[in-house]
Symmetry: C2
Subunit: 197 residues, 2 copies
DNA sequence: GTCTATAAACCGATAGAC
DNA sequence: GTCTATCGGTTTATAGAC
């Protein structure tokens, strides 16, 4: 667990993260992966028992490497301040906006993940962070259902960037709408202070 | 265009809508489709020039058949009332919550659609409805950016049900959160009246 | 409009040498 | 740890009979 993994194994996982994120599980072949890695297909089977195991390891690798930044935002701060909420929303928005590999794999799992993989995504990526996020909202917006509100905020962020290719060709679009800070500001203001009258 | 299409063609499209929605383009083979339709693969090529053309026709078929309900909600009502907004949000939420074929194909297109297909999705499904939705919000919530607000509401609805498999195993989950009317109510209240103090 | 038959390429996976 | 070679099966798509 803690000893350094094989360099080749890690290199393969960095590669498959991009390939699976871009094309999806079914559209990427072991041959594609081997060629991109400068290996033969047979060599892949030394590191991973089959294609599904390689996909699982890819998710594990991406989840682990992408959620630390998020965890730390909610970890260091024990108090329930609006600043902490804003900081968290902005951090999550930035990750979703900029890390296409992570966000595309996440969306693919939401579509095609088995119940077991869904459970792992929930436990490994969302559970702890979501629980703290909920507690924060309960303290800062006591009139709302914290679960529903936390979910709605996550849904806005994920949906905003997932929907971006459509959004950009709809009337009223501005470049500023793509900026994480603009979205985060609107979102926090909406939940905490209500509409400008 | 207006003459009745071949029965077999339509029957194939109803079938592929479900298959492509469930498994995605790459994971469904022409054999799968032919077997499910009680045909041989060769027969499919009489109706569609290749697999991509069949997929395109499937999207066209689904878009056309699913967006009429939505269009009519915003069409009949020329006035800008909160009731119209609520009615529209509820109608869209119900479609997303209940029509898995439509919503899964939509999510798959957002992930894998080419620029051309994305443009078609925007024009065929969203453009007119979104424009009216924006105008409604401009009248009812004048303090907000209507484009950003309309997008956020659509993102919440799409994200809420797309995120559902994770949401259900997170603390604070209640069955009521899955109900379209509960989500629609919260969403309209959030945008129009701000938080309960 | 659907069939049989088949081409040509690709798929995941394994055996065994080095 | 990576290779060569290969197996058995599947893929999209076409030719041509009915």
């Amino acid at each position: 667990m803690t000893q350094p993994q094989s360099d080749t194994r890690t290199r393969i996982l960095e590669l498959t993260a991009g390939l699976f994120a871009q094309l999806g599980f079914a559209a990427v072949s072991m041959r594609n992966i081997a060629n991109a890695a400068g290996l033969t297909p047979a060599a892949l089977y030394h590191h991973f028992s089959d294609k599904v195991a390689l996909y699982d390891a890819t998710l594990e690798h991406v989840y682990r490497s992408r959620t630390e930044a998020l965890r730390s935002v909610l970890d260091t701060n024990g108090q329930f301040s609006a600043d902490t909420l804003h900081e968290f929303v902005l951090a999550f928005t930035k990750i979703v906006a900029k890390d296409k590999v992570f966000s595309r794999l996440l969306h693919r799992e939401l579509l095609d993940g088995s119940a077991k993989r869904m459970e792992r995504l929930s436990a490994q990526v969302f559970h702890d962070t979501f629980t703290r996020f909920e507690a924060l909202l309960k303290a800062l917006a006591p009139g709302r259902d914290p679960h529903l509100t936390a979910n709605a905020m996550i849904a806005v962020i994920l949906g905003h960037y997932g929907f971006a290719p459509i959004r950009r060709s709809l009337p009223g679009y501005m470049k500023a709408h793509d900026r994480p800070d603009v979205l985060a500001n609107q979102l926090v203001q909406l939940v905490l202070t209500g509409p400008k009258q």
